[in-house]
Amino acid sequence: MVSDRIDHDAAAGGTAELLLEARGITKRFPGVVANADVSLQLHRGEILALLGENGAGKSTLVKMLFGLYRPDEGEIRIKGEPVTLRSPKDAISRGIGMVHQHFQLVPVMTVAENVVLGAEPCRGRFIDQRRAAAEVRKLSERYGLAVDPAATVEDLPVGTQQRVEIIKALFRGAEILILDEPTAVLTPQETDELLQIMRELAARGVGIIFITHKLREVMAVADRVEVLRGGRVVGSAVPSRTDEAGLASMMVGRTVVLRVDKTPAQPGAVMLRVRALQVDDDRHQRAVRGLDLEVRAGEIVGVAGVQGNGQRELVEAICGMRPIRSGTVEVDGRDTTSMNAKAVNGLGVAHIPEDREKHGLVGSYTIADDLVLNRFDEEPFARHGLRDFTAIDKQAEQLVQRFDVRTPSIHTETNALSGGNKQKVIVARELSYDAKLVVAAQPTRGVDVGSIEFIHRQLVAERDRGAAVLVVSAELDEILGLSDRVAVMSEGRIVAMLPIEEADRDRIGLLMAGGA
Amino acid sequence: MRKTTGALAGLLALSMFAAACGGDDADTGSGSAETTAAGGATETTAAAMERGFQGDCASEEVFCIGLVTDVGKVDDKSFNQSAWEGAMQAAQELDGFADYIETVDSKDYETNIQSFIDKKADVVLTVGFALGEATTAAAKANPDTHFIGVDAFQGEVVPNLTGLVFNEDKAGFMAGALAGLLTETNVVGAVLGTDKVPPVVAFGKGWENGAKHTNPEVKAITTYHPGGLDVAFLDPTWGGQTAKQALDNNADVIFGAGGKTGNGALIEVAKKDGAYCVGVDTDQWETVPEAHPCLVTSAMKLIDDGVVELAAQVKDGSIEGGNYFGKVGLAPFHDFDSKLPADVKTEIEQIIADVDSGKLPTGVN
């Protein structure tokens, strides 16, 4: 255990104005206590990191601070005055702004429209478009947040969308800015830029609450850290007076396994061979531009890269979900370039999709049905077009047990499961049929730590069984922990292929950003 | 939120503003549509006559008339209503009872007819050519009940079934002839229900020929509702809009024939000064009071008179199977009686007589 409670005022420099204070906040949901007796303080010009694992109660806490939830007990004070935040509107009017994990931007509208929504500058009864654009430009210049006010949000890269969110908050006069996992979707370079922006904002007197589970960022930018676990504040620290390992153990409650236990790889024959692949995205723009890649049996190849550099299209093209414009894909020597998802799957390619709610599951189906989602018409689950529910249920019982899916019954709707358990359903399904090639896209996104470890072990087990494993992840830690070789992807190409021994964070970060 | 409410209020206010102005104008505008008594004609009859078989229809003395409508209602301002009024009048005159069943689904024709047979009605009156087949079948199966099929032309003679049919082409011809005499632009228009219903076509063709007979220069512009049978007679909006189009084509006499669709046409024409309109089936002066400003006459088939006549024949036993040709003709000119030139009236009276007697062929098959 690292430092105990420290004096807040001392950390913040003592003289700064107290912007926000939470006292003894408790929030219960049916069956769960999400926050128990949480207290924290935020001063002007301070960056406060809320550190915790998924499910530690960080999101619930800030949603109360933003008026989305009402605390069951406790008190929130802004500038010393007790307040009741009934809605985001209340929070906004009191100078609180929030950048949500899932951006709250209307994709079909312009940057300026998104920024002024709900607080429109008017000339007469009409929105003053020019002033809206001017305000956006003004804010973006002042804080170094480059955006074009006239651009349509859906055309912008993720990092830029995030800046729009920040501008949105600033436009509303936010003095307290809550950033919910802001770096999850950014490149290391974009992350650095964001951290720079945060410092800039703090220097101009904004108080920032920064939610993350990435220790490096906390160390880099936070003035103070509150660590949450199980809905409680388990510790506070000043980064300059502690180290990553100390924070990590505080966060997890035990010593963290930073590397996945695994033996050196025993690569065999080439299972996946991708040559000069060209694939378009949904908007008919070329996303994968002449990509070459090989994955051998018995190894894990991790694809590192910033989201939106063609990873999704690559995965979907390999798995037969997306038409291939040119180039070839071979699985175990068979040309699968023009095969559909069904045929590719039939060759023994397992696919853990990136977006489990969208692609991986049918939420209104039972777990048993979702466990045969892509093999519903194969024996023994179906014969002559008729489904065999005995076989389906039997398989479901086995998989639920083997993959430790926490559910009352195999006939429960998948919707009712937690994120981690949903992901386990998908992993269970995809790893249930001794695949030759396992393609796992963001396999642990939004999953609790216990499940992450479990899923990682399963992927390693697949490798050890002799399968070729391709992992695509935005979490560099995951790539570094799992992979035997690391492929760095940028702008639709593999720009480097490194053995794990040569893969270090800084180098990969530079490559991801398109540097040499 | 204030802004939404504001917007809402704005919308409402806008509508109220315009509506208010409309009201002002209406007060100063033509007051001719004040007549509410017109509907009263039917209402008084209805009030005098309690619907339903109040007596023992099975007995010899009690005379019962059962009416089955085509899909539609007895208050359709058209042939169903006309037949029902005839039935009520007959019941009154013959000291009997009358009742009706409105058909909701064409497949119920038989069931509905049967229900009157079960109630021992003396006369079962079916309205509309569509019921022809079901009526014939019922007549053959129930020789003791007499059947009257309005608009149902009888190809073969069934002794206890009389078709009350009309030469719609004659009525159309007479109306057309009047239109030919009245038109100043030499364009007459017809807004019709559908060409899939023979009486409508007969009215329309007769109308065109009549107009050409009295005025060789005339151009007859005719259109049918483009929709299916389920809407063709029930779309007054289209009727009105189309009548306006005909007026814009310089037509100054418009024939509206096709249930509510035609009625819509009449009401539209009434809004235009100097234009005439001609109703159909019954004297629409009674059924469409809104059309008074233009309604010069109606091409009538006197279903009610025919029903009364045939019911009386049933009662006294003189009725025969086959077809009974009901009277057709032009409705009274009402307010226009004084406005029509004498020579026009004389000429049209001659034409009516000649068409009636068959001396003047209508040219429709």
Binding site: L117 | A38, D75, T223, P226, P236, E268
Partner: protein, 334 residues
């Protein structure tokens, strides 16, 4: 030069609109030059036919732009027509129209209750409205009443004297003008005012609107009720203005056609109006062809022409139209 610059500054959307309007005008005047009053007659029909449809489509747009599918427009119109007419027979046309609008708004509010508060499937709620409307109006209909007064035709001074357009657009009845105004106002409000921006946000991404303090439920309630009011007005237009009478089932499927028009108009008031005018033009041409007897084709084929054309147009040009993203989805705060 100034004009060229102004043109250049227009958004592609406005430029296309401008081009379309100008093309239409040129075509109309060429037709007018050749056929004279016949062109006027057809275009006059076009405006009359399209007006109730456009109004009903505005109802659809208001509802769907804020995220509620309204399949009950037909029923709302029918009840609006019924109430407006009987209101007009009882206390005059102003009262009638207002009553129709109010009852339409109530039915809209009912849909909003179903969709927003009860979270009933919106298609079901709309279907309930349709069935109920057909049943109730038919059941309680009594004939033999006439309106107290009638809708006048207003000729707009000066404008009415413009050749062709004057007669087509500026010699109409009050609710028709009101419809023109509503379309234009709605177009401007939807894309230029705070209300419009918020409404669109609520229909596209309700949680984004919610997190900046826009009350999603309130906007949905307000707009769906206002939409119902417009449907009621469309009904009043049918009964009190276009015909001066009420008949059972007199909407004749116009509420459904309005949905098609809304989609063809890509959920934009101005485009939807254009689509409604297009339908009106086709139907007017059908009539005129009948009048002229230039073709010997059964009316059934002419009658299906607009529908065939619509399908062909949609299949050829429109491609995938994009509905407001949250249309039909109940919104739950997380």
């Amino acid at each position: 030069m100034g004009i060229v610059n102004a043109l250049r500054r227009l958004s592609p959307d406005s430029r296309n609109t401008l081009v379309a309007v100008l093309t239409g005008l040129v075509a109309a005047y060429i037709a007018y030059g050749i056929w004279d009053f016949k062109a006027t007659a057809v275009l006059g029909f076009m405006v009359r036919y399209s007006t109730p449809l456009a109004l009903a489509a505005m109802c659809g747009i208001l509802c769907e732009r804020s995220g509620v599918v309204n399949i009950g427009i037909e029923g709302q119109m029918l009840v609006g027509a019924f109430v407006a007419f009987f209101g007009a027979t009882w206390a005059g046309i102003v009262f009638g129209v207002v009553a129709g609008v109010v009852v339409g708004a109530l039915l809209g509010a009912f849909l909003a209750v179903c969709a927003v508060s009860w979270r009933i499937n919106q298609i079901i709620a709309g279907t309930v409205i349709n069935i109920l409307a057909a049943g109730v109006t038919s059941f309680f209909y009594r004939q033999g009443r006439t309106m107290k007064g009638s809708m006048p035709t207003w000729e707009i001074p000066l404008l009415k004297d413009i050749p062709l357009l004057g007669k087509v657009f500026f010699q109409n009845q009050p609710l028709t003008y009101l419809t023109f105004a509503i379309v234009i106002v709605l177009q401007v409000m939807l894309f230029r005012t705070p209300w419009g921006l918020r409404t669109r946000a609520v229909g596209e991404h309700p949680s984004a609107a919610d997190t900046v303090g826009v009350n999603v439920s309130l906007y949905r309630y307000g707009n769906v009720a206002a939409g119902g009011a417009l449907a009621g007005l469309a009904g009043a237009l049918l009964s009190v203005e276009a015909t001066g009478t009420f008949e059972r089932g007199m909407t004749s499927g116009r509420g459904f056609l309005a949905l098609a028009i809304m989609i063809m108009g890509r959920w934009r008031p101005s485009l939807a109006w254009a689509a409604a005018l297009f339908f009106g033009l086709l139907n007017g041409l059908v009539n005129q062809l009948n009048f002229e007897r230039v073709i010997d084709v059964p009316p059934q084929f002419i009658g299906m022409l607009p529908d065939v054309l619509t399908i062909v147009v949609l299949a050829t040009f429109a491609g995938r139209v994009r509905a407001p993203a949250a249309s039909g989805q109940p919104y739950t705060k997380e």
